[in-house]
Symmetry: C2
Subunit: 281 residues, 2 copies
């Protein structure tokens, strides 16, 4: 597996791969790999001839007071893990390579970025859309892979790709969970032992909601109240949002109908975790 | 020469052209061709194996109260003229093809869009950057061609391409002028006979400034005053801006040094014209 740091190197790698007629899969990541990342690499490995993983803790998607500086990093471990998944090349640029002096262009995606994490983290999706746009332009992949845990992120990127007529298929893969149900996240490492235990309330409350829907509940307000109360029963949990929205437009709904996203963000101490479920009525 | 209206058609044309190993040149236009457009097509014809001309009066780059609905159009004449230049395909989509229902993604380029036309036409460069980004993604050209008359536009697009790591070379070609010096523009057709005659003050005032610079004038304020006064001597002219800015950052300067852009926008009746000169000190 190659590791490259510069735009020149990745471009030259891509040019050579494409001129040999290879298909390319891109897995954009911020590193500190867990099984969720690895599941994306495996899927890319199955579907594409060349697998590129980008590893870049993207400063423009962090707001003031967020965890940019604390974001967990372990480059050597990441390299080992990606290598074992048969990744062909890791592109791990420094911030100044992606955002050189004078940098001033950003992608703004509209309505779909206004609820959920877009509301809690102003500017977050501007940063996400911009860095993904840049990576797609640099790597020119046939397919790019994203985890369903960041449900809104996947939808924002699909919207951007559709709107800007970008030549790539966006693939999303299911959430990978710990044995006790906690969605895998690089940020789980921030949790204290007590918080780690408390955090299982997220997947449990989503499971409860799925069960309620299976039992015929279609009132969004009732479901939302059930979830919020269940999370509220966990004293370490501090709800940021619990939302039930239409797919793919992410608009508020009163009665569940068709595909619906149940999404939540909850703080445990300083750590903000997200999780979600898609239900179909 | 082919004419196509849909994204599906142009994509399929591009895929086929690229799979045969051809280089592609794109000339993005709003139609109503004049010699300026044709000079870009000729350059593309010389430099690329396949020449694509897009013809789309882009609604997102017009502000409220601007001339979107009045913008001059003559599709049949345009087709004839492009065909005579050896263009391979014209892509002329309807607005709904480029901005379908639910469209919501825009490219924002920063500081470089704040002076000049960016100040007079809020949102203009957001629309320009967005449509050019879409066309570059659709046509995947090796080179894209822009006229130097829209000096700030060229610089905004170069900035976007650099910032977003887009895989294309932006080529700009010199302003083409009428015999009396008026810069060719589709909007010249709006001018009354008297306004048309008065409008030559633009190129004459720029020539005067170039002469002053050649004679050693390096004070930006003095030059700006000379140009503004010269234009002011023409009673039909109403100055929007006269600016002297650094290249490529478009920052205000006091003393001319290196490459400098002298840019102006002036109204004649309802018609707003722009012109510019680059001088080197």
């Amino acid at each position: 597996m190659k590791v490259c740091r510069s735009i020149g190197e990745i471009k030259s790698f891509v040019r050579s791969a494409k001129s040999s007629g290879n298909t390319i899969g891109l897995v954009p990541t911020m590193g500190y790999f867990h099984q969720g990342h690895l599941s994306l690499m495996r899927l890319a490995r199955q579907e594409c001839q060349i697998v590129v993983v980008s590893l870049f803790v993207n400063p423009t998607q962090f707001g003031p007071g967020e965890d940019l500086l604390d974001y967990p990093r372990d480059f050597e471990r990441d390299i080992d893990m990606a290598s074992q998944e048969g990744v062909d090349i890791i592109f791990a640029p420094e911030p100044g390579e992606m955002y050189p002096s004078g940098y001033q262009t950003y992608i703004e995606v509209g309505e779909i970025t206004t609820p959920l994490c877009g509301r809690s983290r102003p500017g977050h999706f501007r940063g996400v859309a911009t860095i993904v746009n840049k990576l797609l332009n640099l790597v020119e992949p046939d397919r790019a892979y994203f985890g369903q845990k960041d449900a809104q992120q996947v939808m924002v990127i699909k919207q951007m790709v559709r709107d800007l007529n970008m030549n790539v298929k966006i693939v999303n893969a299911p959430i990978v969970r710990e044995d006790d149900g906690l969605a895998m996240s690089s940020r789980n490492v921030y949790l204290s032992t007590a918080e780690r235990k408390a955090a299982t309330i997220l997947s449990r409350s989503l499971q409860g909601a799925e069960q309620a829907v299976n039992n015929g509940e279609t009132d969004a307000l009732t479901l939302r109240k059930q979830i919020t109360e269940k999370i509220g029963s966990e004293s370490l949990a501090d709800v940021d949002y619990v939302e039930i929205l239409s797919i793919p437009d992410l608009e508020p709904i009163q009665v569940l109908n068709g595909q619906v996203l149940i999404a939540l963000a909850v703080r445990f101490g300083k750590t903000r975790l997200i999780d979600n479920a898609i239900v179909e009525v």
